[in-house]
Symmetry: C2
Subunit: 558 residues, 2 copies
C-alpha cells in the first residue's frame, strides 16, 4: 500500500555518496566524473568486451500498454533490487527521461513507489545535460544548413525544399510543430517551411544510442542525410564539415550516467529515444558499461514488445552483438481487462471475463519473444485492484504455455516484493538461456525486413505501400542504404497500425505511408500512420501544480 507520492518517497531516502555506489561495481573514485554528490559520469575505458559477453543481460518489455503505461521502468528497478536481494550483483540500465513530458501529462520516468532511481528530481530535470547536448548538436547542424543556404563563398547549392533535417527542443510545444523560418528580409536568410521535433526524436539521439565510441559517433554524425542539392545530389552533414563540432558538443553526453536505486544498487541511465518513432532503448555504450561492471544487467525497451523489444533485438542486440538471456514481459491485470474490451472507467474493476479475452494479447507477445530464441518470464505488475481469480487465471494460462508468471510487488515493497520474480529470471538465465537469434539479417532487402516484422511480430497478412513509400524505397536504393536496419514508426496502442485494434488483431494489412532515412543511425524508418514527434501540453499543464520552497525542496513533480 502506498500513501505517499513518488517524490516524497524519493526525498525521504538518505542517499549514499555516488563514490560508494561506484565502489560496489569496483569503479574507482578517480574514474568518476561527479555531478554533485549523487550523480557521476563513467569513462568509456571501463567497457570490457569480454565481460560484456560473460555477464547476463535481461530485457524488460511489456504487453501492448494502456496510455498510462504498465510499469516497465518500475519493474526493471524492482527486479534489480530483487536480484541484489537474492545475492546477485545486478545493475539497472535505463533511458533518461525527456523534460517535455515532465511538464505535460506523463510526468518523469524514474520509476515509482518503492522502485525508483534517485535523485529523482535531477534525473527528471536536466540530469547531467545529455539531452541539452543532443539538442545543441542537432540545432547547430540546422543553423549550419540555413547559414549555408545564403552563404556566398561556401554554398553547397542545397535545395531548401528538400531539407529533411528539423530543429529540436526538449519541450512539449505544439506551436513549433509547423513553422516558417527565415522571414524578415535578406539579412535573416531564405524563408522556408520547417518544424521542431521533441529532442528524443532527434536522429542525434538515435546516433548517440547506436555509437560504439567517440570516433564512431563522429562518423555517424557526418553521415546524417540532410536533403539534396538543386542538381539532385545528396547532402550529408559531413559536407557542411559539421561532424567534429557536433561531436565536441557531445563529448560528455557520450559517457553513461551512474546513479542509485532506493535500495542503493547501481543504476546507469543514458540516452532516451522514444520507442514508437525511434529505437526506444538506452545507449549501446550504457548497456555494455553495465555488463562490464555487473553480473546481471536489467534493461528496458519502450512501449510493448512489438516496438521496443523488436527493435532492441533486431537492431541494438544484432548491431552490438549482445545476447539477452531472458526477456521479462510486464503484464498488468488492468491492461488485460483493456484488451478484453474494458473501457477506461472500468480498468480498475475486476472482470475475469475480460481478462480471459485480453490474454490473447500477452500470448502473442510470448510467441514473439520465443521467435528470437529467448525464453520469457511474465512479471505481473501488481495493483491493489487485481482480484485473486484474475491473477490465478493469468499464472495458470502462462503455465500452460510453459511460461512462469510471477507477481511483482516492487512498487509497494521494493526488492522484498520482487524476490520471486528475480528467482524466476535467474532460473531462466542459469538453466534455459541459449544464443538469441535476430529475426532478420541487416543485409536483406528493406522490403523483406519490413515484411518479416509486420508478419512475424505484428501478425499482419500483408504489407502495402503508399506511392510516397515506393518513391522512398527507390531513393534508399539509389543512396545505397539497403543494408540499414528497419526502425518501425507505429502506434504503441495496437499490434497493427490502427490504434483501435486492441487484443490480438488478425487479418489486417499494414500500410507503409513513407520511409524516412536516418543515415547516421543506419536505420530506415517506415512510417505506419501519422506519428507525432512533438507532443503538446494539456489544458492544465503539470507545471501549474509544481512548487519549490526557499530551500530548493520541490513538490508536485511526478
Amino acid at each position: 500500500m502506498k500513501h505517499q507520492t513518488d517524490i516524497a518517497i524519493a526525498q525521504a531516502k538518505k542517499l549514499l555518496h555516488i563514490r560508494e555506489i561506484a565502489a560496489k561495481i569496483n569503479v574507482k573514485e578517480d574514474d568518476l566524473e561527479m555531478y554533485g554528490k549523487y550523480k557521476a559520469k563513467l569513462p568509456l575505458h571501463l567497457i570490457d568486451e569480454t565481460k560484456v559477453k560473460e555477464n547476463n543481460l535481461v530485457l524488460v518489455t511489456a504487453l501492448t500498454p494502456t496510455p498510462a503505461g504498465e510499469g516497465k521502468t518500475t519493474v526493471s528497478i524492482g527486479l534489480t533490487e530483487g536480484l541484489n536481494k537474492i545475492g546477485k550483483q545486478a545493475t539497472v540500465v535505463l533511458r533518461e527521461p525527456s523534460l517535455g513530458p515532465v511538464f505535460g501529462i506523463k510526468g518523469g520516468a524514474a520509476g515509482g513507489g518503492y522502485s525508483q532511481v534517485v535523485p529523482m528530481e535531477d534525473i527528471n530535470l536536466h540530469f547531467t545535460g545529455d539531452f541539452n547536448a543532443i539538442e545543441k548538436a542537432n540545432n547547430l547542424l540546422s543553423a549550419l544548413i540555413d547559414n549555408n543556404l545564403q552563404s556566398k563563398t561556401n554554398n553547397l547549392n542545397i535545395d531548401p525544399r528538400t531539407i529533411l533535417w528539423k530543429r529540436v527542443i526538449d519541450m512539449n510545444d505544439r506551436a513549433l510543430r509547423d513553422v516558417t523560418i527565415g522571414l524578415g528580409g535578406t539579412a535573416n536568410g531564405i524563408p522556408r517551411q520547417d518544424g521542431f521535433n521533441i529532442t528524443p526524436a532527434s536522429e542525434v539521439m538515435a546516433i548517440l544510442c547506436m555509437a560504439s565510441d567517440l570516433e564512431n559517433l563522429k562518423e555517424r554524425l557526418g553521415n546524417i542525410f540532410i536533403g539534396f542539392t538543386f542538381d539532385k545530389k545528396p547532402v550529408f552533414a559531413r559536407d557542411l564539415k559539421a561532424e567534429n563540432a557536433m561531436a565536441i558538443l557531445l563529448k560528455d553526453a557520450i559517457k553513461p550516467n551512474l546513479v542509485q536505486t532506493l535500495e542503493e544498487n547501481p543504476a546507469i541511465i543514458h540516452g532516451g529515444p522514444f520507442a514508437n518513432i525511434a529505437q526506444g532503448t538506452n545507449t549501446i555504450i550504457a548497456t555494455k558499461m553495465g555488463l562490464s561492471l555487473s553480473n546481471y544487467v536489467v534493461t528496458e525497451a519502450g512501449f510493448g514488445a512489438d516496438l521496443g523489444a523488436e527493435k532492441f533485438l533486431n537492431i541494438k542486440s544484432q548491431f552490438a552483438d549482445l545476447n539477452p538471456k531472458c526477456v521479462v514481459l510486464v503484464a498488468t491485470i488492468r491492461a488485460l481487462r483493456h484488451h478484453g474490451g474494458a473501457l477506461k472507467d472500468a480498468y480498475d474493476t475486476a472482470d475475469l471475463v475480460k481478462v480471459k479475452k485480453g490474454f490473447a494479447n500477452l500470448e502473442k507477445h510470448i510467441e514473439n519473444i520465443r521467435k528470437f530464441n529467448i525464453e520469457p518470464v511474465v512479471a505481473i505488475n501488481f495493483f491493489i485492484s487485481d482480484s485473486e481469480e484474475e491473477v490465478n487465471f493469468l499464472i495458470e494460462s502462462c503455465a500452460k504455455l510453459g511460461v512462469k508468471a510471477v507477481l511483482s510487488k516492487g512498487w509497494a515493497n521494493g526488492g522484498e516484493g520482487t524476490s520471486d520474480l528475480a528467482k524466476a529470471v535467474v532460473e531462466v538465465v542459469e538453466t534455459k538461456a541459449t544464443q538469441y537469434k535476430p529475426l532478420y539479417n541487416w543485409q536483406s532487402p528493406i522490403k523483406d525486413k519490413i515484411e518479416i516484422i509486420a508478419k512475424e511480430i505484428y501478425g499482419a497478412d500483408k504489407v502495402v505501400y503508399d506511392n510516397k513509400a515506393l518513391l522512398n524505397l527507390k531513393r534508399i536504393d539509389r543512396l545505397g542504404f539497403n543494408d540499414f536496419a528497419v526502425c518501425m514508426a507505429k502506434t504503441q496502442k495496437s499490434f497493427s497500425d490502427n490504434d483501435k485494434l486492441i487484443g490480438r488483431p488478425k487479418n489486417f494489412v499494414i500500410t507503409v505511408r513513407e520511409i524516412e532515412i536516418a543515415a547516421g543511425a543506419q536505420f530506415v524508418i517506415p512510417i505506419l500512420g501519422k506519428m507525432m514527434r512533438m507532443p503538446g501540453l494539456p489544458s492544465k499543464p503539470a507545471s501549474e501544480n509544481m512548487f519549490i520552497d526557499k530551500n530548493g525542496v520541490i513538490s508536485g513533480l511526478s
Copy 2:
C-alpha cells in the same frame, strides 16, 4: 611573445582538483557540488553579507572597443593573478560564455594567452548547464503561453498580437529571428508571428543576474510581463502559474560556478547577459559569493564603460548595495588609433598622431567613472605592435588627469605581467577608495533617468523620443513601473547611438525608438537604434575548423 593557441596553452596546464581551489578560499569539500574534477557549484549559504561589505570589489571596464574587443576578460584574469602574486587573496568573478558565438566569429570568452580560466573547453561549451536551464525556463513559459491561447478550460484571453515574450536558443541562428509558429491546423495552436533571441538576451538571464536568492528569483519570474488580454489587462507569468516550474528548472543554475585560473587562483563564473542589450555583468549572487570568500574580487562588465560599467554601477551595485572601490579602465593602443581615425588595416601600425586624437575617448570614460565617486586606474593591455612613444604618451596623458596608467602584460606573462597593475589597484583601494555614488536614484521618473545617462555618460545634448517610445512610456506609467532601473540598449561602438561616431562625439542627440519592459528584472530597456538579439553565423563558420580526436582532445576552439 605567444607562439601557441589559447586552447593549446590551456590544455598544457595540469589543473588542480577543484577541492584544492576551494580550500584556498576556505570552502569545505562537502559544500562543493562537483561537475567533474575541475568545476563545482557553490551553495548560496556561503554568502556572508558582512564580508560582502568588508572586502574589496574592483570593476574592470574599457574604453569604447573595436569589434575584436580590448581584452577585459584577459585583463581581469591577469589582474587577479597579479594581485595574488603580490600577496593579496583575490578571486576573479566573470560571466559565462554563450555557445552561439563559439561556433560563429567571436569564439569563447575564457580569457586569452597566459591569462585564462580553465578548463576552457568546458567553460566555452555547456559548462555546468546554466545557459541550458535558462533556455528551458524561458521556453517553458513560451510553451505555456501558446498552450493557453488554445486552452478551452484555462483560457486567460491573451491577445496573441500583444505577446512580447520570445523563445530563445543559445545558437547563432539568423533564420530563427523572424518566424511564424502555430501553422498546420487547429491541433497545432494559434498561428502568430514570433522569433527567437539568443539565450543571453533572455529576460530569464537578466533575472537570474539580479536575483538575491531562490525565493526572490521565483518572485521575479512570476513578475515577467507577457502582453495583454483582449480587454487590455496586463498578463504576467504568474497568471500562467509558471514561476515555480521555471524556478525548478533554475534550481542549480542559481548557484555560482567555481573554476581556476592558469595560475591556480579561484575563478567564479556565473550568468552571462550581453552588455549592449542587457545588464552585461555576472550575477549579483556570484559577486557576493566572491566577496564572501575573498579579500579582493575582480569582476568585469561588458563592452565600453558607457554600457557595462554604467549598468554595473547604476543597476547592479545600487540594487545589491555593492561598493566598488576601484575601476580599471582597459585601454589598448590599437583602440586609441581607431578612435583617432585609423582604419582596420592600420590598427596594428604605430601612429602617435592618431593615438593622441583617440585619447579623447578614454578621457571621457575617465571623467565618467569619477562621476560615480570612484577612482579609475588605466590598464594598457599591451600588444607587440605598441610603440614606446605611443605608450608613453598614454601614460603621461593619464598622469595629467591624475590617473595612473600601467602596462598590463597578462596575456603574454600571466601574473608576472600584471604585478604593477595590481599594485596600482591596491594603492587606489587602500588609500583613495571612498563610498561610490550612483548617478540616479531608481525612484526618479523614467525620462529623468534616461536623460541623466544620455547627457552625463554619453555626452548627448538632448534626448528625443519616437512616437512608439512615448506610447511605451505611457504603458510603463499605467503598469506602475516608473521606479524600475533603466537598462539602455545601445551600440557598443560609440558613446552615441550612431556606430560611426568614434572618439568623443559632441553635439549629438540620442533617439529613443521604443522602450521595452523587463518587469521580472525590474528594468525598462530604452532601445536606441536597431539592436540585434540573434547573431548569425559567418559564411565560413568556426565550427568547420574544429576537431576532436578519439580521446576527446579538442582543437580549433578559441
